[in-house]
């Protein structure tokens, strides 16, 4: 990979490490929510990190997560346009895919059954959402971004995030039916 070899500034490197390193996991989670594919998510974050390095000189040091999420959004949009014109846009196309949710690692045997029921009900409900709603729900309720961070990620106003989020939650509750407690087999909040 080509990483601006002409730049060699220790302060810049220090700022990069300070601002970017703590956000890598969040970026990867968000990238999974946006792409729905682990390999694509890693590629997206890698491209985002490299772009962030190149853009460090223009960054004022405030709100690094929002700054990085904006870069990630632009990178994803450009990549999406260039390479993935056939990406699923509606839930009917996404059934069977696992947006944002990847394989477990080292599952606790006692937890597997309960987790499976919890995950199945919720994942079905989340997968049934239109992509616009699903993405907001994943970013805020699963990835734990703030409204503003989700807005930066999606390039929409905070009010739009709140509206889509509310509608997404309503649809999930409706999908879960008259017994909306998806944790009935997996514990309480």
């Amino acid at each position: 990979m080509d990483i601006a070899p002409e730049v060699d500034d220790s302060a810049r490197r220090l700022a990069f490490g300070t601002h970017v390193e703590p956000e890598v996991e969040v970026l990867l989670r968000v990238a999974l929510s946006l792409t729905g594919h682990r390999a694509d998510a890693e590629d997206l974050v890698q491209d985002t990190v490299i772009r962030a390095w190149r853009a460090m000189d223009g960054f004022d040091g405030r709100h690094p997560r929002a700054w990085l999420l904006t870069i990630l959004r632009n990178t994803h949009r450009n990549t999406h346009r260039r390479q993935r014109p056939d990406t699923a846009a509606e839930p009917a196309d996404a059934v069977g895919a696992r947006p944002a949710f990847g394989a477990r690692e080292h599952p606790d045997p006692q937890q597997v059954h309960a987790d499976a029921q919890l995950s199945d009900r919720l994942e079905r409900a989340v997968l049934a959402l239109p992509e616009t709603f699903r993405t907001v729900l994943l970013l805020v309720d699963v990835d734990q971004l703030t409204y503003a961070e989700a807005a930066a990620t999606l390039g929409v106003p905070i009010g739009t995030v709140m509206s889509r989020l509310s509608r997404a939650r309503h649809r999930v509750r409706k999908h879960l039916g008259p017994h909306p407690d998806p944790s009935s087999s997996g514990g309480s909040p």
């Binding site: 490197r13 970017v20 805020v140 998806p182 997996g186």
Partner: protein
């Protein structure tokens, strides 16, 4: 009759702001007087209290879903190494 209608109005007003109130998102805080009004309403309204409980339950379940589906550890390690490498400038020429 008037009391019942006042209650309905309060419920409608509360429903419109209930999720924002419960989320307590730092990037979109409700004004203090609105928070106090909602807290007072929830203290006396069973219907809105049940709605609040459903909301909290769904959020907690979705949060746990995220806990159970963390990003791939190998991907995370590779990306952290990439950032560290760039920041340390130890492998670039």
């Amino acid at each position: 009759m008037i009391t019942w209608m006042q209650s309905m109005v309060q419920c409608r007003r509360s429903a419109a702001r209930l999720e924002q109130y419960l989320d307590a998102d730092p990037s979109a805080p409700l004004p203090a007087d609105e928070r106090q009004r909602l807290a007072a309403h929830l203290a006396v309204c069973d219907r809105c209290t049940r709605a609040a409980a459903r909301h909290r339950l769904l959020r907690a379940s979705l949060h746990r879903l995220g806990d159970h589906h963390r990003p791939d550890a190998a991907s995370l390690a590779r990306l952290q190494h990439l950032v560290h490498t760039i920041a340390a400038d130890d492998e670039r020429s």
